[in-house]
Symmetry: C2
Subunit: 173 residues, 2 copies
């Protein structure tokens, strides 16, 4: 089923609940759901494009950051910061990249706690192959929006992120 169909069905369902219950913020609920589903759909697109190369989005993202890192290498924790991944998952990603011959793993002699992931020649070739391909995909996805709308979207997402951040802070206190 298409996203738009899903949205219609979901709104119908939410409205039925709203009829039973006191004053549900239907529009906000739908916004939240749409945000989630559009984000997920975009991710699914990437996954689809990547699965031909037996990569998952997180792995690809880390490979790219490795490619862009000074010296073509970085530690898992640095990569965590760059890709918003958890350490546990970064271990798995490292395993996957090493297994596929896209990166090597070595312990940093200057700080033996650190692990250094380094992209291989093969990894770099793959990066250079995938980058234009995935870039085109991203461009296609946003091709329906003009410059103004893109800026609008960015502004709105930044604002939402800011709200979420401050509310999380409040909660932690």
């Amino acid at each position: 089923m298409s996203l738009l169909d899903e949205f219609v069905a979901m709104r119908g369902g939410v409205q039925r609940i709203a009829a039973l219950c006191s004053a549900l913020p239907v529009d906000e609920i739908m916004l939240a759901r749409k945000l989630k589903h559009v984000g997920a759909a975009i991710s699914a697109r990437f996954e689809q494009a990547l699965q031909a190369h037996d990569l998952v989005e997180a792995d690809f993202s880390v490979l790219m950051q490795l490619f862009g890192s000074p010296g073509r290498n970085a530690s898992p924790s640095e990569l965590c910061g760059l890709t918003a991944q958890r350490p546990t998952n970064m271990t798995r990603i490292g395993d996957a990249l090493v297994r596929k011959g896209l990166a090597t793993r070595a312990t940093d002699p200057s700080d033996r706690r650190r692990i250094v992931l380094r992209i291989t020649a093969r990894g770099e070739r793959l990066a250079r192959t995938l980058l234009p391909q995935l870039s085109a995909e991203v461009s296609r996805i946003f091709s329906g929006l003009g410059d103004t709308q893109r800026r609008q979207l960015d502004t709105l997402l930044q604002k939402l992120a800011a709200t979420l951040d401050t509310q999380s802070e409040e909660q932690d206190r």
Copy 2:
């Protein structure tokens, strides 16, 4: 780390790659990432609010749709349409709701392939407890946006969904 910090770090990483590679659409890439992460953060918020009741977002969503269904019951496949879940997962959700005493499961006598999930009194109490609570959470999340901005966001998400839909169609053909 906060979302805004993540965004800054991610943009830095993407820009370093862009410097190495031909004309990367940095802004679009960041839009895609922000969409994904804001959507995920909103979901995480719900999960957090729900985990006190040992529910996960999908389970909650199904419970609500069950609550709003005519006759307080529905089949898994109907619920799949209403909540954008896969049948396999719906089976698990049904299991969870039944196990927690929030719903019952019975086979429809008029079509013995169909299963009828029916919300229990306890499930309904929980629904009536959670709805206002979660609604407040949604409202808080969007409290930073004015009416115009909400409409903008909705328009943009609809447009993106439309683009994603048509491109998926093209691909399937």
